[in-house]
Amino acid sequence: MDVAIIGIGLHRFGRSPDMSGMQQGASAVRAALADAGLSWKDMQFAYGGSQDAGNADSLVNELGLTGLQFTNIWNGCATGGSSLHAAYTAIKSGEYDLGVVVGFDKHPRGAFNPQPKDWGLDDWYGETGLMLTTQFFALKTQRYMHDHGITEDALIRVSEKAFTNGSLTPTAWRQQKLSYDEIAQSAMISDPLRKYMFCSPAEGGAALIICNAEKARQYSSKPLYLKAAAIRTRHYGSFEVFAPSQAMNVADAPTVTASKAAFELAGIGPKDVDVIQLQDTDCGTEIIHMAENGFCEHGEQEQLLRDGATGINGHLPINTDGGCLANGEPVGASGLRQVYEICVQLRGEGGARQVGNNPKVGYTHVYGAPGLSGVTIISK
């Protein structure tokens, strides 16, 4: 059974002071239903998740008590990817024909403050200040730059691209372009990563209407097809967040294994992809994820970024809506925002940020603590 995406909805990322996180989730569902020309009572199932804004299944209080199966998902920053994967398997199995995937969140300002016990760790690890995601991304980037000859120039160029793309995206949180020098001179937060090289926790909602591909044309004149969805967790030896120690031998990251699994499912390779979304919690991880997802060799990023290859008009357009850097990261919604953007691009509805050459295949990648990745491949 193939899987189609027939409706997409987004509640603007950033800050919505007058709305709860859940209301932003409901807003995204309503937008996705309207896009598909369907109503809430048509939905047979729902998967949804949020980190800080409540249990997703409470959305029925806003949307209607229709008795549908509603399962809550939480998988760190990969929550959206895991929700979509659950919906993908529900359709593929033949159990259901039509349902919704939703993610939303509303985080307080400032860096996340995860609690050691939630991650199977002892209190001392958090108390002594070793459990910050910002630190991990800086530590991984620092080593990666050392091993693969990446310089600060590449980090700055990722940030510059993100805010340029954000300035072209009406739903983005950060719509102000930043100059190379503004980024290069911004405060050092966690060496080698500066202020404008990190995304911030934010608010927002995203939703997708998913259906059995055989029935997609009944509902939509422009269905897209979810050719693959894969989630993988870390192997022994991969360098991941929230790790008081790590092994000496180095294993492939979960991004590598999830990416390979997704390409295998879809029967295509990285060269067949026209438009890409990669988890960019910070500039270093976007660079690392370019290679881990198979779009270049380790170390090639420096030249690709210098050549503008990952810009909207480049041959490897990445994070066309500005990614997490320009949209912020509402954890529950973030992975679904990536899919939303890919659908916009494949439909040719990207406006000022539309990539050229009629893109046919898109790719999304999300990464979450404590070391899992979710990849989807979407085609026309």
Binding site: N113, G126, G129, Q135, L139, S245, A247, M248
Partner: protein, 143 residues
């Protein structure tokens, strides 16, 4: 005289004039981990034993924590007294990379591959005025 209490028993030998980091090693596959745990992350065996991981290592990667973390961070500092600290992974002779606070806290003082020395330091005071001790690494100054 303050009493010096480890932040958690079993992380390092204490009290000791030459403290060692403590971990566990799998009796089946010989992989080491820190902190010690009763099962093996590599092969799933339940047979592990406590081992000394050493007191010197090599810096594998590093960063600097420039802002005071939110709770669960629990030091005796305030926003006004907070001092940036280094964070890194140190390759230990026991065969594992251990995440730790680093005393050097500027980019000029830190370089991948530099030798590092374990130190046990007072981290905060408890309500009775005892020193709560944790581990960190300092730069090796003499050979």
């Amino acid at each position: 005289m303050h009493t010096q209490i480890p932040i958690k028993e079993g992380l390092f030998t204490w009290p000791s004039s030459k403290p060692q980091l403590l971990g566990s090693r799998c009796s089946r596959c010989a992989e080491a981990t820190f902190p010690a745990q009763p099962d093996c992350r590599n092969c799933g065996s339940r047979e592990t034993h406590i081992v000394e991981l050493g007191d010197r290592g090599t810096l594998w990667t590093w960063t600097i924590q420039t802002f005071m973390p939110k709770q669960p961070y629990h030091s005796s500092e305030t926003e006004a007294t907070f001092a940036p600290y280094g964070v890194g992974y140190v390759e230990m002779p026991g065969g594992v990379r251990v995440e730790a606070r680093l005393q050097p806290n500027t980019a000029q003082q830190l370089k991948i591959g530099m030798p590092m020395q374990l130190a046990i330091i007072p981290f905060r005071s408890d309500e009775q005025g005892n020193d709560i001790m944790t581990f960190c690494f300092t730069a090796v100054t003499e050979e």
